[in-house]
Symmetry: C2
Subunit: 393 residues, 2 copies
């Protein structure tokens, strides 16, 4: 049976997260397993109004085929926001609209990766990136991430041996760990890669969701010619519209555009227009402020409850933003064993295993705090604490 498929498709790991989501359909189960933004915060009424305006303003153009680059107005908006918020000079001509940032990963793989080429990947790292790149059959070169970023010694060891094609990073509020690369860590990475033919992917879906600490310098400022910056409206407006983007140097952009065209001609521009209209008519910073207040409060609550209900010896990250935190069991305990106990206590999370390319039994796991209110967080973490007490008994 296997011979009918391409070798590449056999390499793609199944999404364990999707399997877990099936358990979460039981409404009595509290789920910290999700990776979703909080649906209660979607600007539904504003989007309805924007949609009506788009119908009014553009006539039948919104229904026709469109260009592969994406809507120019939206690309101009994105460029303007980079300038305003990060003092980053990005031309709209270097912004390619994609079906969420996930498609950005696929297009980068398509455009740049030959089989067997090196891809530096965070461990733990974003499962969707591992899946997207696996299609192009690279060699994954894992580097550990800790509280302040990538393990620099590990990165230097890799860089001493070879010039990997890509380095994949989520430097702000990383998925799954919630950590943020420090300023120093970023500069060291840029220095290490300076002599290399390596492109750094700065995947930044959560960057605007900062609830403490201060903004760090983007790799797109530190090494503009070598950075592929991914962004998305999924976490700050709505994910269902599937609108994200890649910022790429012009010679890379041109090839990404060919790959985009071959992949699906263009991203739905109806939803691009709606998002643009929404951004024109509303103060997105006020809206982001609401998201940040909610997620920040929920994160703090989760941290408090962890102190209160988890047994001693548990380590965890302290995110400055985003949607996730990362918990590590003491000793050699497997988070998958905890998962099985936790399901019986009616609480779930994502065990660490799928976030590694090396097939380990991870003692760590990911907790999502964006989709659960503070009372539910208290109950859920209490249940999880109970499951932990049973572990190893």
């Amino acid at each position: 049976m296997n011979t009918i498929f391409s070798d590449r498709i056999a390499d793609v790991p199944r999404s364990f997260i999707r399997e877990i989501l099936k358990v979460s359909l039981d409404r009595s189960v509290i789920s910290f397993a999700g990776g979703l933004p909080n649906r209660d915060l979607f600007p539904a009424e504003e989007i309805k109004r924007a949609t009506a305006k788009v119908f009014e303003a553009y006539g039948n153009d919104i229904f026709q085929y469109s260009n592969s680059e994406g809507d120019l107005k939206l690309r101009q908006y994105i460029a303007g926001r980079y300038k305003e918020k990060k003092n980053l000079d990005v031309s709209p001509e270097n912004i390619l609209i994609t079906n969420g940032a996930q498609q950005g990963l696929d297009l980068i793989g398509k455009t740049l990766l030959n089989e067997g080429e090196g891809v530096i990947i965070e461990e733990p790292g974003y499962l969707g990136a591992i899946q997207a790149f696996s299609i192009y059959r690279p060699r994954f070169l894992p580097v550990e991430v800790a509280e302040d970023g990538v393990d620099i010694a590990g990165l230097k060891r890799i860089a001493a041996l070879e010039s990997p094609k890509l380095m994949y990073t989520v430097p702000n509020f990383q998925n799954p760990s919630g950590i943020t690369y420090s300023e120093g860590n970023r500069r060291e990475i840029a220095d290490i890669l300076a002599g290399k033919n390596t492109f750094l992917i700065e995947d930044d879906p959560y960057g605007e969701l900062r609830f403490s600490g201060t903004r760090r310098t983007s790799f797109a400022a530190l090494m503009p010619e070598r950075t592929l910056l991914l962004g998305s409206f999924s976490k700050i407006v709505v994910p269902g519209f599937r609108v994200g983007w890649i910022v790429a140097p012009s010679h890379i952009f041109n090839k990404l555009l060919v790959a985009k065209q071959a992949s699906d001609l263009h991203t739905c521009h109806f939803t691009q227009y709606i998002i643009h209209q929404y951004l024109m008519d509303n103060n997105i910073d006020v809206h982001i402020g609401r998201i940040v207040a909610a997620y920040g409060g929920q994160c703090l609550k989760m941290l408090d409850c962890i102190e209160k209900y988890f047994p001693a010896g548990i380590e965890h990250t302290r995110p400055e933003g985003g949607m996730f935190l990362w918990v590590k069991l003491p000793g050699k305990q497997a988070s998958l064993d905890l998962f099985n106990l936790a399901v019986k206590e009616k609480v779930i999370f994502v065990p660490g295993d799928p976030f590694y390319t090396t097939g380990i039994q991870s003692p760590a796991f990911r907790l999502n705090f964006s989709c659960v209110d503070q009372n539910t967080i208290e109950t859920g973490i209490q249940r999880l604490g109970k499951a932990m007490e049973q572990l190893g008994k």
Copy 2:
């Protein structure tokens, strides 16, 4: 510079059609070069009403992430329509929603093609398919298409030598030629492939746009275990929403789903819901009837004008549906030379060259009749006739 890119991206031909479209921005130029459905026939008001209903009915669910398979209601509708219109038994579980049928081609390539494997491709053939498959670096095995379908002798020669992985077909109103495979041609193809490990792609975006002749048997009925059937709402509702689908046997479906997830998580379900609502509230057959009446009339007008204004010795197809017809210049005349003369006469079309994988100087070219009213057709074909008279002088 070239070494930074993957080998695969270097293999993708540029879209000559896109280059041509730049010329067509001049409003005094009559374009038969487009590949677009007629925007005047989009059901704009009905879609607005469907959108309002979707906002009403689904609340914030329409903005959240969704499943990779696509909206179940829509997949059930598609399965029902196959049963009703073609007596085809298709389960909703075997239907994967994609970003237009173009993404279907990409996902099939991703899932099935190893580098160097054979892909039988029509010559002339759909440029978007050539682009999509090129990414996966197959060996293209061209077979000629004529008025009644694929050249059977050519197909037998290929089949005697090897088992290609894929055979790509547009059996109804083919792009670019407008021809339709005869019933006998389809059965011969199914017979030839019967002992092979070859999957046949039946790309059918235009199938519902029949204005004369009778419906032929689908490959999905003749060889269900070996057919990957692609469909789309682009030509019968609107293309801008980017909603198409693949029908695939279950074991293939499961792998296509992994590829879909890795590529972009899922297709925008907001637009899927709108299309479904539109289909529930309106009689799509009445709408398709309007499109067919318009395209049919325009095609007939174009055929009449060709008789009237083109010099003797010109061959052309007589489409039973779709959006295109195919014209062949006599002798060794190059359609690209005609193109340059035609631009001066302010009329354009797509020269045949990009529809071949073998890099020929084609004497043939494609004319689109879906986007031009009958008066414009008369003027445009007259201009083209003038350009033809200058050819070879």
